[in-house]
Every structure is written in C-alpha cells, then in structure tokens.
C-alpha cells in the first residue's frame, strides 16, 4: 500500500477514535455548555475523519468507503495514536488529553498545509480552523482547572502524569513517517517537538502544573504493533451496529 494510504489512515484513525471518545460525554458533561462544546469537538473530529479515511479509501482503490474503514476493521488494523484511545476518566482528564492532542494536532495541520500532496493540504486547510478553536478551548480549561481549587489542581496533575507518557508517540517517526517526510507529504514528526514543548510548558506553567521529568513514551498505536486493551472495547460499541446488521443504512 502507498505511503499516502498509511499516512491518511494514521491521521483518520486518531481523529476517529478521539472523536468517538469525546462523544461518550454527550449528555453526561458537568454543565450544559460543556456538553454542547464537547459534542461539537467530537463532531469536528468525526468530520475530519471522513476526509482522512475517504482519502485512504480512495488511495486504496478497491471501492471501499470511509465507513468501511471505520466500521469493518479490527483492532490490529487501527493506526491511531495510543493517547486517543485512553479512557475519558473524569472531566479534567478528558480535557487534559484533549489539550495534549490538540496542541500536537494544530502544529501538525499547520505543517500539512504546506504538503506537496494537494489532497492533504486541502484537508489541513479545512481542519486547521476547527483545531485552532479546539486548542484554545482545551487550553483555557486546563489552565482554569489546574489553577483552580486544590481538588481540581490535584486531579489535573494526576491526569497530566497519567497521560504524558503517551505524548512521545506523536513525535516518534517510523519507516512510514520517514517515507511520508521524504515524499513531501508530511513534516518530520520530530521537528514539531520543540514548538510543542514550548507551548505545553507555557500552558502548564500558567495552570500551575508540573510536567513529568521522564520523556518515556508508550508507542505501538500508530504502527499498529500494539494497542492498549481499551481500543477493543471502543470498537465493540462503535462498530456494533454494522457488525450485527451488516450493510444497514439510514
């Protein structure tokens, strides 16, 4: 399969799985305003998924659609970053996960706007506007809760320590990423790290939170080598209808 296929799959699977995770809050968020905001974010991510997986399906060229890729693959075929499949935890942890992803997502999309592949830069142009807002919102909430009450501060510090070991994967290229960089499709992942670190350090300082010292990073999601045990559980929910009623449509 082509580098473009692999690349689009990785982008689309991350937005799909995170979009699904965030949608789990629908009807459960602590206040109505946050409920709507989270649902909007989830919908933005699912919308981007249609574009990325649509591109992957087109590149695969066997007549599959974005829906086929989303609903008819098993866990070992998914290429999302591990960070996106981690459980929501409490509201604070969900927003911390969102911020850590959004900040990477924004830098990635800004770089992809300069992609040599027009279909990739077109998707990035559209998505970057949505993601600029996502990061503004998640950043403010991380700061508000981090620099909030002793209880919210503790929960946000716990969330940061739990999630931070999953950040490294976003910046660790493998052979597919190197090929994508070589072909001008995508930036060198490692080159995004300095800007990411600066932005995250700034946010955490304002949130009075302490970044963990260790740079250890779990990986295996984007390569498909090893997902966490959580992905299978997401798929049982997300894919249930198509599995039980194959080909069902509206």
């Amino acid at each position: 399969m082509s580098t473009l296929y692999d690349f689009a799959l990785r982008m689309g699977d991350s937005t799909l799985i995170l979009g699904h995770r965030v949608s789990e809050w629908c009807g459960h968020a602590p206040v109505l305003e946050e409920d709507i905001a989270l649902a909007n974010t989830a919908l933005d991510l699912i919308g981007q998924t249609q574009l990325w997986l649509g591109l992957a399906a087109e590149e695969e060229g066997t007549g599959k659609t974005a829906d086929d890729l989303a609903f008819l693959r098993d866990a070992w075929d998914f290429r999302n970053a591990l960070l996106t499949e981690l459980p929501n935890g409490d509201f604070g942890r969900t927003l911390m996960r969102q911020y850590l992803f959004d900040q990477w997502h924004l830098l990635m999309l800004q770089a992809l706007q300069g992609s040599s592949e027009k279909r990739v830069s077109d998707i990035a142009d559209k998505a970057v506007k949505e993601v600029s807002y996502h990061v503004e919102r998640s950043r403010d909430t991380v700061i508000g809760l981090g620099d909030g009450t002793p209880e919210s501060h503790k929960r946000m510090q716990d969330a940061l320590e739990y999630l931070y070991p999953y950040v490294g994967e976003l910046f660790t290229p493998d052979a597919v990423d190197e090929a994508a960089t070589h072909e001008g499709i995508a930036p060198d992942l490692a080159s995004l790290r300095a800007a990411y670190d600066a932005a995250v350090a700034d946010t955490m300082a304002e949130a009075t939170l302490t970044l963990p010292d260790s740079r250890f990073g779990h990986k295996g999601g984007r390569t498909g080598k090893m997902h966490t045990e959580h992905l299978g559980h997401i798929l049982t929910q997300m894919q249930w209808l198509q599995r039980a009623y194959p080909g069902a449509s509206w």
Partner: protein, 94 residues
C-alpha cells in the same frame, strides 16, 4: 462564594450592518469563556459575525409596574408617527 457560574446574556450580530440581537443566556465562569460557550451554543449553524456577552446581573431593567407612566403617554400622540405624509409612488416601500 457561590459554586454556580454566573449567568450571561448573549447578543449575536447575524450580518454586517445589523444590530446585535439578544439570543439567550448561558452560564460561564468568566467573560472569555462566556464568548466561547456562546460560540458553541448559539452560532453552530453559521448565525454569527460578532458576539457580545454581558453578565446578567449588570443589566438594569424597567419594572412592569411602571408600564403606565413609561408607555401610556405616547398612546394618545398619534402625530408622533409619520403617517400624515403622502409618499410619492416612486419611493416604493418604506
């Protein structure tokens, strides 16, 4: 300190040239978040060009019991309406 976020009144301008119009209210911890929440609650379907938020506590309202002194004196003064002019047809609808 109250644990509830304060209530904000939201005004959205739909198009350039129009006035901001009251669209509803929501809760938020501060003005910045009120604008963000307003964006998510009231402008999802491309309704807005500009958002104003004001804390509901800062709005002063007229009292319904003052209705008489406030509004009734104008009821008997029809000459305040510009209805006594002949409008040339060329002008069209006004």
């Amino acid at each position: 300190m109250s644990k509830e976020w304060p209530l904000w009144e939201i005004f959205v301008r739909g198009q350039h040239g129009l006035s901001h119009r009251h669209v509803g209210s929501l809760h938020a911890p501060d003005a910045e978040m009120a604008i963000k929440n307003a964006r998510d609650v009231y402008t999802r379907r491309n309704e807005g060009q500009s958002i104003w938020v004001v804390e509901a506590a800062h709005i002063s309202a007229s009292s319904p019991s003052d209705k008489g002194p406030l509004y009734e004196p104008s009821e008997s003064k029809v000459y305040r309406h510009p209805t006594f002019f002949d409008i040339p047809e060329d002008v069209g609808a006004m």
